[in-house]
C-alpha cells in the first residue's frame, strides 16, 4: 500500500495542477477502442466528441487516443491522459471498465465516464443507451417484411446488452409473425468486416431474408445487396448509403447531448457520479428513417411503436413473457426491472440455440 501511495501522491499533485489550468480551458479526453474511421461505434463517439467541442468552442480542449487495446494498455493510456491534465475522461468501450476504475482511484480530482459498464465510484460515472428499444422496432419490421420467416442475427459477444437486443427483436417479430425463426451467429468481434460478411452470407444461404446486426461494419449490408431480396438495418450509424435497399431502417447512437451536458457539469463544478441509461425518449437512441421499400401501413405502425416507446407508454419487455426453458419470467402486464435487464443472461421462450457459455 505504501508503494501505491507514492504514485497516488504524485498524481494528486498533478491533479491539482490540472485544476488550476482548468480555470481557462477544460481538457476533455476520449479513449476509443477502434479507429476513429471505423464507420460505426468509435466513429460515432468521436463525431459526438467533435460536436461537443464545437458547442463549447475555445472553452474546451479535446484530446483522444484511438485503437486502444482492452488489456493492460488501456490503464496506461488512461493514466497518460490524466497525467496530461485532463479534467474529464470518457472511456468508450465495455472492456475499459476495470482500467477506468483503477486509474480513477489514483486521480480523485479527475472525472471519469465509462460507457456500457456497471462499476461506479465517486469520480466514475457510467452511461449507456437502451438500444433494446430500437431493437423492438427492428424486430417488428423484420417480422412484417420477411417472406421466408427466417431472420438472421449477427451477434458480437454474449453479454447482457447483446442478449437484450436479441430478445427484444425476437419478441416483437414473433408478435406480428408467429412463424418467425431466428438464427443467431456469434462473431466474437465488434468490428471485423471480413467475419461479418461471412456471417451474413452464411445466414442468407440458410434462407434468412432479414439480417439484424450487433456489429459495427457495413459489410453485412454489402453482402445483402449482392444477394438481392434481403433487408438489413444500420447499426450505431445510420448507414444511409445502403438505403433504401437493403437497409430499411437503423439504430443510431446519439451521444453528443450527453457529452455536452456532462462537460458543462465539469465546467460548472456540479459534476456528480451518475448511472445514465437513456433511450429513444431522451434522445440517446435514434431510429433512422424507415425507407419507402417498406409499405406505408407497416411504416406507420413501426413509427407508432417508436412513439409509444419514446413516450414511455409501452415498454419492450412487458409480460406475459417466459424464459427459454418455459419457466415464467414476467406476468401479464408486468414490466422488467432494470436490474434484470442489466444482467440479462437468458433467452426468452421461442428462441432456439444456446447462449455460448
Amino acid at each position: 500500500m505504501n508503494r501505491r501511495s507514492i504514485l497516488a501522491g504524485a498524481a494528486l499533485a498533478f491533479g491539482l495542477a490540472g485544476a488550476v489550468f482548468a480555470q481557462d480551458k477544460t481538457k476533455v479526453g476520449f479513449i476509443y477502442v477502434g479507429p476513429i474511421g471505423d464507420g460505426g461505434w468509435t466513429q460515432h463517439h468521436h463525431e459526438a466528441a467533435l460536436e461537443m467541442q464545437a458547442h463549447f468552442g475555445d472553452a474546451v480542449e479535446l484530446v483522444y487516443q484511438e485503437s486502444v487495446p482492452e488489456g493492460a494498455d488501456a490503464e496506461r493510456a488512461i493514466t497518460q491522459m490524466a497525467l496530461g491534465g485532463a479534467d474529464i475522461i470518457f472511456t468508450t468501450s465495455f472492456g475499459f471498465m476495470d482500467p477506468t476504475v483503477n486509474v480513477a482511484a489514483k486521480f480523485p480530482n479527475v472525472k471519469f465516464e465509462h460507457a456500457t459498464g456497471y462499476k461506479t465510484a465517486d469520480n466514475v460515472g457510467v452511461y449507456s443507451a437502451r438500444f433494446y428499444e430500437g431493437r423492438a422496432i427492428q424486430g417488428y419490421l423484420a417480422g412484417k417484411m420477411t417472406k421466408t420467416n427466417k431472420i438472421g442475427y449477427i451477434a458480437s459477444f454474449p453479454i447482457p446488452e447483446v442478449i437484450r437486443g436479441i430478445n427484444s427483436a425476437y419478441i416483437h417479430a414473433k408478435k406480428v409473425n408467429p412463424d418467425v425463426e431466428f438464427s443467431v451467429v456469434w462473431a466474437y468481434t465488434w468490428f471485423d468486416p471480413g467475419k461479418e460478411s461471412d456471417a451474413a452470407q452464411a445466414l442468407i444461404e440458410q434462407g434468412a431474408d432479414v439480417i439484424l446486426q450487433h456489429t459495427d461494419s457495413t459489410a453485412p449490408h454489402a453482402a445483402a445487396a449482392k444477394a438481392g431480396n434481403v433487408y438489413t438495418f444500420g447499426q450505431a450509424a445510420d448507414m444511409a448509403e445502403y438505403a433504401p435497399m437493403p437497409r430499411i431502417s437503423s439504430i443510431i447512437d446519439v451521444w453528443a447531448p450527453y457529452y455536452i451536458e456532462r462537460v458543462q457539469a465539469v465546467i460548472d463544478g456540479t459534476w456528480e457520479s451518475d448511472n445514465t441509461w437513456d433511450g429513444i425518449g431522451a434522445g440517446m437512441v435514434g431510429i433512422g428513417e424507415i425507407s419507402d421499400v417498406v409499405p406505408a401501413d407497416i411504416r406507420a405502425e413501426a413509427e407508432a411503436l417508436r412513439d409509444s416507446i419514446s413516450s414511455g407508454a409501452y415498454h419492450p419487455f412487458t409480460g406475459p413473457l417466459n424464459k427459454q426453458d418455459g419457466s415464467a419470467w414476467l406476468a401479464e402486464g408486468e414490466i422488467a426491472d432494470d436490474g434484470t435487464l442489466g444482467g440479462m443472461n437468458f433467452y426468452v421462450e421461442g428462441l432456439t440455440g444456446d447462449i455460448p457459455n
Binding site: 484511438e66 493492460a72 497518460q80 442478449i163
Partner: protein, 360 residues
C-alpha cells in the same frame, strides 16, 4: 555507380552498428512522415523517444517502460534460441495466451485461498501451458516433418478462440453479472503479480525477463547446447557431423520458447492486465519477433531492443493523446524500424563500392 560486393564473412562492426543506424533512419523518416501530417516533426520525435525517459512525467513512464518491455524480452529470448538454429516459432502469441489461461485457471481454482504457494503453482502452470502448446508444432515436425511456421501460426487462432471461450465460459467471473472476463487478480492477493517496486514498474515478470536474459547469455556462450544451437543455424550439415540430434534440438527450442511465452502471459494476466478477457492478448507474441531480430538474436541486444520497442509504444501513445498523431502513423513508425534494420543489414554482408560495375 554503386555496386555491392559480398564480404567474405559478415562484418562484426556493422553487426553492432546497423541497429542504431536503423533507429536513426527511422527517426528521420518518421519526422518526414509527421511533417507531412502537419505536426512539428522535432516535437513529435521528442515526444516519442525523449519525453518518456526524461520528460515531465518520466517518473511514471520509466516504470511503464519496464512493464511493457518485460513480456517482449521474455518471449523474444525464447524465440531467439530457435531462430538461431533455424527453427521458426511464429506462434508465440498462441503460447502466450495458453500460458495465461492455464496459469489463471489454476489460480482461480483456488479462489479465495490465501496460501502463498498459489502463485508459484500458477507460474508453473503458465510455463507448462505455453510449453505444451509449442509441443504441438514441435511433435508434428519431429514425427511428420510438418512446417512449424504454419502450424505454430495457425495455433494462434485456435488459442484466440479458446481465450474467447474461457473468458465467457469456464473462467468467467461468477460475480460479473454475466459479462465476459474472469475475476480480477488485483482482488485476489495470493494470486496477484503485484508490483515489487511500483514507481520502478518492477513486478515478477520483469525479474523473470532479466533472469532469462542472463541464462540465455550463459547458455549460448558457455554451454554445449548453446554451441549446438549456433552451429545448427550456421550449417545444419556440419551440425549433424558434430553429433547434434536435430529432433532433440527442435523439441528444446520450441519447448523453451513456448514455456517463456507462457510465463510472459501468466505474469501479464495476473499483473498489468489483471484478468482473462476476450481481448487480453495484444500482440506481444508477434511484436517479440521484431524485438528478437532487432536485438540481433543476442540476449543483451534483445534486452535493449525490447526497451526500445516499449519506448515506441509508450511514446507513440503519448504522441497520440498530446499531439493528435493518428495511431496508424505510430504503427508505421514501428514497422519502419524493422524495415530499415533489414535494409541496412545489406551493409553487414556486403561492401558498398563506388565505381564501375565489374564483370560478374
Amino acid at each position: 555507380m554503386l555496386t555491392l560486393e559480398r564480404r567474405p564473412s559478415p562484418s562484426r562492426m556493422w553487426t553492432m552498428l546497423t541497429p542504431p543506424l536503423a533507429v536513426v533512419l527511422t527517426m528521420v523518416a518518421g519526422a518526414v512522415l509527421f511533417a507531412f501530417l502537419g505536426k512539428n516533426p522535432v516535437e513529435a520525435i521528442r515526444t516519442i523517444f525523449w519525453d518518456p525517459v526524461f520528460g515531465e512525467f518520466a517518473f511514471y513512464y520509466r516504470g511503464q517502460l519496464l512493464v511493457k518491455a518485460a513480456p517482449l524480452i521474455l518471449i523474444a529470448i525464447g524465440l531467439s534460441l530457435g531462430f538461431r538454429a533455424g527453427i521458426w516459432n511464429i506462434g508465440a502469441e498462441g503460447q502466450y495466451i495458453v500460458g495465461a489461461i492455464c496459469g489463471a485457471a489454476v489460480g482461480l481454482a483456488f479462489y479465495p485461498t490465501e496460501n502463498s504457494l498459489v502463485f508459484p503453482l500458477m507460474i508453473l502452470a503458465g510455463a507448462i501451458g505455453g510449453w505444451a502448446w509449442a509441443m504441438i508444432p514441435a511433435a508434428l515436425k519431429v514425427l511428420f516433418g510438418t512446417n512449424e511456421i504454419l502450424v505454430s501460426l495457425m495455433l494462434v487462432y485456435v488459442a484466440e478462440a479458446m481465450l474467447a471461450s474461457a473468458s465467457s465460459g469456464l473462467l468467467r467471473n461468477p460475480d460479473g453479472m454475466g459479462f465476459p472476463g474472469s475475476r480480477n487478480f488485483k482482488d485476489f492477493p495470493a494470486a496477484h503479480n503485484d508490483y515489487l517496486i511500483e514507481s520502478a514498474g518492477i513486478h515478477w515478470g520483469v525479474v523473470a525477463a532479466l533472469i532469462a536474459v542472463i541464462f540465455a547469455y550463459i547458455l549460448l556462450s558457455r554451454h554445449l547446447l548453446g554451441f549446438q544451437i549456433r552451429v545448427t543455424g550456421q550449417s545444419p550439415r556440419a551440425a549433424r557431423f558434430a553429433g547434434v540430434n536435430p529432433s532433440r534440438l527442435i523439441l528444446f527450442c520450441l519447448g523453451t520458447s513456448g514455456a517463456l511465452a507462457g510465463l510472459a502471459g501468466l505474469f501479464e494476466v495476473t499483473g498489468p492486465a489483471g484478468q482473462i478477457s476476450i481481448d487480453f492478448n495484444s500482440g506481444y507474441g508477434f511484436t517479440a519477433i521484431i524485438v528478437a531480430f532487432l536485438g540481433r538474436l543476442h540476449p543483451i541486444g534483445i534486452l535493449l531492443a525490447g526497451l526500445l520497442m516499449a519506448l515506441t509504444y509508450i511514446g507513440g501513445e503519448a504522441a497520440q493523446s498530446t499531439l493528435g498523431l493518428p495511431a496508424s502513423a505510430v504503427q508505421v513508425l514501428q514497422g519502419m524500424l524493422l524495415f530499415f534494420l533489414l535494409a541496412v543489414d545489406v551493409l553487414t554482408n556486403f561492401r558498398i563500392r563506388l565505381g564501375k560495375t565489374e564483370a560478374a
